[in-house]
Subunit: 181 residues, 2 copies
DNA sequence: GTTCGACCTGTCAACAGTGGAAAGTAGGAT
DNA sequence: ATCCTACTTTCCACTGTTGACAGGTCGAAC
């Protein structure tokens, strides 16, 4: 459960209402840890009960401004530095690859070609985002750029892999040789 | 929900009991789509109700052997070729990167160094697995090797990225320049 | 002969995440 | 005055996943 830490991280350098957080999730964290409005409000209440955040101000229309507490910062640091990151194991796309011999070799190659295309599109979208962000010195962007570079490398890798896999499939429809390094 | 399709995929070229499937998940699919025993039995019953699999034999100790039906194969092909693969969006590790400026630059670099090390270890483990599999011509291995190559590239990419990110962090603790291609 | 381990099937409670509905306030446009 | 839109919070039903529990058969070893 890292939604908790995502919220703490965002509150660490600004106070915000649930609505503010929702917009931050939609923009800066959309590609890293998406969260819906209902999750956020539930989590804010839980965090508040646990004493990790606190209401710093109450606005006009019921708006509640939340801020991180000392305990909250401690928890955030603890998670950042001491909790082992969990591996991302499930992959819808990779699962399909496992069963690719259930369709004809031609369909398999077509599937991989689509994968390559989709990865390429995502790569170009991220590149545009990176170029757009390169101009404005947004405080959020500092480490966001590290994540962005990760995305650029990842999508590039997916493209190359899909191309490689399609060739491999074409070369040896019956038995694949061991992967190259 | 792709557990359904993982089960269909495995049953597509062999009949198997729930227990057999459990072992297949533990071995060949462990890194792609983990599933627990309880999920499997529940899913088999659901699939059976939906007419996508059927009991082909009943063994001595209550063992039930399941086989895929025509509808099941149709569903599998449909999922493989026509359903858009969903992106894997949540990443525990990347989320941490976003909040890396909550700790000192030195701690941040130490974190990235650990990431690099963990990725390297996983890379070496996958390489050993690939070498071990290179010998035996397992029917499962055919497309499993494609997935394995994906893992090799992915872990290598993570290593390189963590190194790059650490350098980037060291070079510009206040404001990061735009990412290179 | 019993005990042990491998085989085999199932239920249950709990929780994270999703999507949608409900309901309310304030400010600006018509 | 009224309506629309943005803002704000909350609740509920549903799915997927997990881990624990609970049962059962069989072959082999002791």
């Amino acid at each position: 459960m890292s939604l908790r830490h995502a919220v703490l991280g965002l509150l660490a350098d600004r106070t915000a209402s649930g609505y503010d957080l929702m917009r931050l999730f939609q923009t800066s964290l959309a590609n890293v840890w998406p969260a819906t409005q209902s999750q956020l409000y539930t989590e804010l209440n839980r965090l508040s009960d646990a004493g990790l955040v606190t209401v710093t101000a109450e606005g006009p229309r019921g708006r509640k401004e939340y801020g991180i507490t000392g305990d909250g910062r401690a928890e955030l640091r603890h998670w950042l530095l001491e909790v082992e990151p969990e591996r991302n194991r499930r992959s819808d796309a990779l699962l399909r690859v496992f069963f690719l011999d259930q369709v004809s070799p031609g369909q398999g190659r077509a599937y991989l070609e689509r994968e390559r295309r989709l990865a390429g599109e995502r790569h170009r979208a991220l590149r545009e985002l990176a170029d757009a962000l390169a101009g404005e010195p947004d405080p959020l962007a500092v480490n966001g750029l590290l994540a962005l570079e990760w995305g650029l490398r990842f999508t590039r890798m997916q493209e190359e892999w899909a191309e490689w896999a399609a060739e491999r499939l074409a070369a040896a429809p019956a038995a694949a040789p061991p992967p190259a390094d």
